[in-house]
């Protein structure tokens, strides 16, 4: 029903969700775990872009930085300050991991905005792995650092004694829902934004409203650039919050 509403008489026929299809790079066979797909390609492009910025860009080590080097320094300084502010001084040991997460997410979000690009982070398979890695490592770290005191995270000592068992149940549920919301927030935002742009682009086929459609796509694109950065920032800062919970479970 929905598929024949656009297409025939309008000339444009694409589905807004088509851009998220995982396709093999060569040929049109089935996708196995070893098949090079567009996901593989864009993961490599993301890695290459990060290396180009952070390794090749800072190669000169100039005292007066070049443009690329100052961007790299800005990214490094921002993440460093975020870890220091949210997690505290003892969280800085885990800064490399958080910097890796931030650079990967921000680059895959931003590169996904290029026309014809594939957004790696729009798939829950990718963000789920990132969020689960954070969840598992933070939980293990909490038990290693604090032993059984880590369970004090669920036993809210500031609440009245009667409420504590109920709060403990809620805290446990909210703890285990963390990787779900952590991963779906990123994937959902990326997927929804790109799908909305494609929906507006689909309206361009109708001559009367095509100027409105182009304006809407332009406006949405601007918003998406903002969202791509903010979602990477939010993912990273929530990782810092979870890390802080693991290091200091009392408060």
């Amino acid at each position: 029903m929905a598929s024949d509403a656009h297409g025939e008489e309008t000339g444009l026929s694409f589905h807004p969700m088509d851009q998220f299809l995982v396709k093999p790079l060569f040929g049109t066979g089935e996708v196995h775990w070893y098949t090079p797909t567009n996901v593989t390609l864009w993961l490599f492009i993301v890695a290459a872009a990060i290396i180009a910025l952070l390794v090749a860009g800072t190669r000169g080590r100039a005292i007066v930085p070049s443009r690329v080097q100052s961007v790299a320094e800005l990214a490094y300084g921002m993440t460093y300050k975020m870890v220091e502010d949210v997690t505290g001084k003892d969280g800085l040991k885990y800064f490399p991991y958080i910097m890796t997460l931030f650079m990967f997410i921000v680059f895959s979000n931003m590169l996904g905005l290029l026309p014809k690009a594939f957004t790696v982070t729009s798939h829950i398979a990718v963000t789920g792995v990132l969020a689960l890695a954070v969840f598992v490592s933070v939980t293990v770290l909490g038990f290693v650092k604090n032993g059984t005191h880590f369970l004090g995270l669920f036993w809210v000592t500031s609440a009245p004694l009667v409420l504590r068992p109920i709060l403990a149940v809620i805290e446990v549920i909210s703890y285990f829902v963390r990787p779900v919301s952590h991963s779906i927030r990123l994937a959902g935002n990326m997927m929804a934004g790109h799908a909305v742009m494609k929906v507006f682009a689909g309206f361009a086929a109708i001559a009367v409203i095509s100027p409105v459609s182009i304006l809407a796509v332009t406006a949405m694109y601007g918003l998406e650039v903002l969202v791509a950065f903010i979602q990477a920032y939010v993912f990273t800062i929530l990782t810092c919050v979870y890390l802080k919970d693991a290091l200091h479970p009392q408060h």
Partner: protein, 78 residues
């Protein structure tokens, strides 16, 4: 009219789930608006609280994302 009643239910359910996105928008707007009104009262303290702002927005938004997920599941998975 073709199609079955289950498909009708899926589309109606997905549309109802979209209400959750609007509710999340109210929540996010509430967080940001309250931050702004607080920040204008005490601008010197606002800079240090942007991280808290984003965490609050992220938590408010998470539930809207869950509603979106329910809609997606109804449309494509069920």
């Amino acid at each position: 009219m073709e199609g079955n009643i289950a498909e009708l239910g899926q589309y109606i359910g997905a549309g109802l789930a979209a209400i959750g996105s609007g509710a999340a928008a109210v929540g996010v707007g509430n967080v940001a608006g309250n931050f702004l009104s607080g920040a204008l009262r005490n601008p010197s303290a606002a800079g240090g609280q942007t991280a808290t702002l984003f965490i609050g927005i992220a938590f408010a938004e998470a539930l809207g994302i869950f509603a979106f997920l329910v809609a997606l599941l109804l449309m494509f998975a069920v």
